[in-house]
Symmetry: C2
Subunit: 183 residues, 2 copies
């Protein structure tokens, strides 16, 4: 399962993130890499392309991201649900999550953190504002490069609702006729 990805406009990443999917955050600091599952994130601005997210200090990834000021936000599809659950229930302090879960790190273009090849999309992020990191673990990242697989156009995504349950994305309905603005 390898999604061949293409460049995607960074000011349109809301298409993938605003619906609220659980994402896999990959990071690197020195020779250490890690992956964490994350459901607490929000788009904050189109341009610059800003995404805010909560990364708890207890996560092994916290240190790698704090030190490097970078990460990659990867979008897994429903086929990866078991890996997502296992990634969220293990620690990078104990295992190499790429090796443990059969995921493939690929070099990013503009950050040191690796992309996850098996994900549908990967968004390279640099720290933009750390004002709320101490209080809430809330990082504001700028998406500086985006990669999205061409197919499928509407992959099934995973939306975590707690207690081990994931809601799958369903069909899309269009109401563009009711929209007077572009967004």
């Amino acid at each position: 399962m390898t999604a061949k990805k293409q460049d995607f406009p960074v000011d349109q990443v809301r298409h993938w993130l605003e619906p609220g999917p659980v994402v896999l955050v990959s990071s690197r600091s020195g020779d250490q890499t890690d992956i964490m599952a994350m459901g607490w994130h929000t788009v904050m601005e189109f341009s610059p392309s800003l995404v805010g997210c909560v990364i708890a200090r207890a996560n092994h990834s916290f240190g790698l991201i704090r030190r490097s000021g970078e990460c990659v936000i990867n979008l897994p599809t429903a086929a990866l649900v078991d890996s997502v659950a296992r990634i969220g229930n293990s620690s990078g302090a104990a295992i190499d999550k790429f090796a443990a879960f059969g995921l493939t790190p690929e070099p990013a273009q503009r950050v040191g953190a690796p992309l996850i090849r098996e994900c549908h999309a990967s968004f390279e992020c640099r720290l933009f504002d750390d004002a709320l990191v101490e209080r809430y673990g809330f990082f504001v990242f700028e998406v500086v490069q985006a990669h999205v697989a061409r197919t499928p156009r509407r992959p099934q995504t995973l939306h975590y609702s707690g207690d081990g349950a994931f809601m799958l994305s369903g069909k899309t309905i269009r109401r563009k006729a009711l929209f007077t603005k572009v967004s």
Copy 2:
């Protein structure tokens, strides 16, 4: 269409918000009320129950929420999609959105902003942290009271992906056996 709601534990609102649904934010300041559609929000903490969200200054609701320090985050189901689209494409400076879209304001318990009766759930919110309001319109709210309809247990929710398109929530899959932690 009137959802009869019951009290719900505030430290579990992530069940409804973490999957990323578009929500309707109701507010009041003095004798003015307003409703806005919002897709840019994230859970930030279980207890206190914190939700962060972006409310652009251009929204009529911004002033009401800034002045009152309160709002209600309401969860619409798929049946309300046309109202959600219209609410997102009109201004409370020009119309009374409750009247214009046939929605019913109900008194909240702990805030002055009204609940929206027709929504599946309503979360009463008080401003918790405004450190990032000037920079990004990012408000951190504490959910101080929560109301959720008893049925349906898994309502179909709307997840906005831009360009007038809403993804509907689909079926739920469970992987609790892979979870070693409670969350």
